[in-house]
Symmetry: none
Subunit: 223 residues, 4 copies
DNA sequence: AATGAATGAGAATTCATTCAT
DNA sequence: TATGAATGAATTCTCATTCAT
């Protein structure tokens, strides 16, 4: 009688869904490490402990595999945001801070996910380029939403006339770009916590460098 | 009588230095469009209107070709900065603005250069990865220098005690990341001039979103 | 009903070990015919009736392929020697004769093997040159062993004082070189059997040309 | 007035014959070191201090260049033999010894020449293979001539009935092969002089191993 | 559910060779 | 006499993908 040896006692028969996730797990790592083109299906299959035909059976093609990675990681990022949104306070800049913080934590902790989502060079096929653009747009939309809420609800009631959705989008791009770049900065400053970095970024953006120079500092107020 | 057919009278003999630049010109375009790995030397040679062996004769290898692109574009960016530095005014935030503006104009106008310098994915060989890291560090150092000057000379005399080189580096990363990301934003907002984007970013960073919401806007003062 | 078309019913699926041997078989022929550098993996693959990627999948590289040939053929030669050693008689010069004879037969009959083992020019990479040198040393050691036994056990009991391992090695080199060269000679004297050539060489070396001129001839004594 | 700076004061105009020899000198070294195929015309031109087109102008092609090397080195070897022949004594085995000695000295001292003449693998084009075969035949003929004289004049008058030209050729092949192989042996025994090696080989062949074992040694008699 | 065997298509790189001056 | 510029044709090697079991 064949015992189901769960701990690698000769490769088990694994249900499709589970295998798929295993493959995607590995693929995200490999795509992040090597980039789309330099990543090889061979390596992914080997690290996943299965044969190449399985990869093709389940994910169709290298492109399909990458798309699967992309959409799963995008979902994860959105989920991280939504968690933060629920946890955020009432004051809009607190919500912005909470969202930014969640975003930062994600980017810092799930390097591979973020690299797959955001750092793929332009080297991609039409289909993939479109999907990447979509994923990026989704992320941007989340951040822009956060910013928009912060802006419109901030001034007490009436949103400042000169600020628009376009501004929110602008700010979102700036924030996401800054956050991405600060990921590198964190790489050379391992003592800095994501939370600390978030706070610094928040100060820089919300309070402004000019004010910071005059000693003004923003700290999330306890509600 | 043999006319000197300067305009493509069937492939001319071109002196080495000139050809090298032609090749690098094309290579920057192709590397930017496809990314290092997906770019093929074949394509580069063809677009440059020469045969592959010439590329290898002059630039040694795909890696050598990429390194040549990298260093030439890095030089260009540094030159743009230095032009701005000379043209900048006395007040430090004016200099920051001038530098940022130059940077922005470069990133916006030389998309390919910037992509080659900054958007190469993780997929690179040891040698290349090191060169890319170097180039990025050089850019960061320029921006950080700008910021540092802005910070230290700003407060009237005594630099704020709590601000350090680390802060300047932090801000530089945030700015470069934001600028990079805003390049994408500009792609979907073709009506926005680099100068306008710079101003907006400057406001966001220098004055702070909080202040902006209250109607405060920074404008480069005429000296 | 699908018949098992064993005789080329359009390229069969062949187990790895078998294919490897097929490839090596062909490669030995091609390397012998063309030399290491002039041999092309393309040609080897084509003659083996498979595609190039299989060659690389199984043997890793042209170098790997050559090394595989080298070691297989070296093993074969050693085996031929050992067969002869077991079959050889008691008297040492009989054993020398038997060994030499086996060697000769091998060199004459397995031209390709011998060429791969011994006739590769100086044009080889470090790794390969080392492997070739090793293989040659192994062959030499076999012959030198044969000679040493012949020498020491010959004189009735006490080995001649002035003869040493160095002498045996010297003689081995002379014999192997002579045998190699005589392979060419046999090419232009197809009527000569390897056995006859061995005998002649044995006479030349053992009895000496001077004696031969005086009519003395050595014939392997029946035990 | 342009002085003819013989010591490399900016590449001189050199008459054709001289340049040809320079090129061939270098080519022999390179062909010997790398083998025909692995040798590159580029390397040869560079080491010769001229441009590739000169090589083609003077020697026509890589093949032509190799053929030139081959024939020049063959001539040199033949010349070495003829010198020895004139210097040899009256007794036939003395002449054999003198010839063998000259041969050996040549092989030992002009490694590159010998390698080009004898160690080119089978990797060659029809034309070249033929030329190499010719060169080898010429060498063999010299040695065989030496041997034939030694044999026929040795016995006092009447040549031993059973010995023939074929025998001489056989012995020549054995000797040349042995000599070639002993070149390797000398590589690992740098203390051994070519003259000593010649003597040993002469003993082995002329007196015979069997006799040597009994203490008999042949020494060239002073006439 | 799973895989060992197999390949077409392209990648980087090198080489012998020629042209224009 | 001499050369810098240029290339067609290989060559080694890799990769995404499929077939037969």
């Amino acid at each position: 009688m064949t015992v189901n040896r769960s701990s690698e006692g000769r490769r088990r028969r694994v249900p499709r869904k589970e295998r798929e996730q295993q493959i995607i797990d590995v693929a995200v790592r490999v795509f992040a490490k090597r980039g789309y083109h330099a990543a090889s299906v061979d390596e992914i299959a080997e690290l996943a402990g299965i044969s190449k035909p399985m990869v093709y059976l389940y994910l169709d093609s290298k492109e399909g595999l990458f798309l699967a990675c992309l959409s799963r990681e995008a979902d994860r990022l959105v989920a991280a945001f939504q968690g933060a949104a629920r946890a955020g306070g009432a004051a809009p800049e607190l919500r912005l801070h909470a969202g930014l913080s969640a975003f930062f934590a994600f980017v810092a902790e799930h390097r591979d996910s973020w690299v797959v989502l955001h750092r793929q060079a332009s080297e991609l096929s039409e289909t993939i380029a479109a999907a990447v653009a979509d994923a990026r747009r989704a992320v941007m939309a989340q951040v822009a939403g956060l910013v928009w809420d912060g802006i419109t609800e901030s001034g007490g009631g009436s949103p400042p006339a000169q600020l628009s959705h376009e501004d929110a989008d602008f700010v979102a791009h700036a924030l996401v770009g800054a956050a991405d770049s600060l990921t590198d900065w964190m790489g050379s400053h391992p003592d800095q916590s994501p939370e600390g970095v978030t706070l610094r970024l928040m100060n820089m953006v919300w309070v402004g460098m000019g004010r910071v120079l005059e000693g003004e500092v923003w700290v999330p107020a306890r509600e």
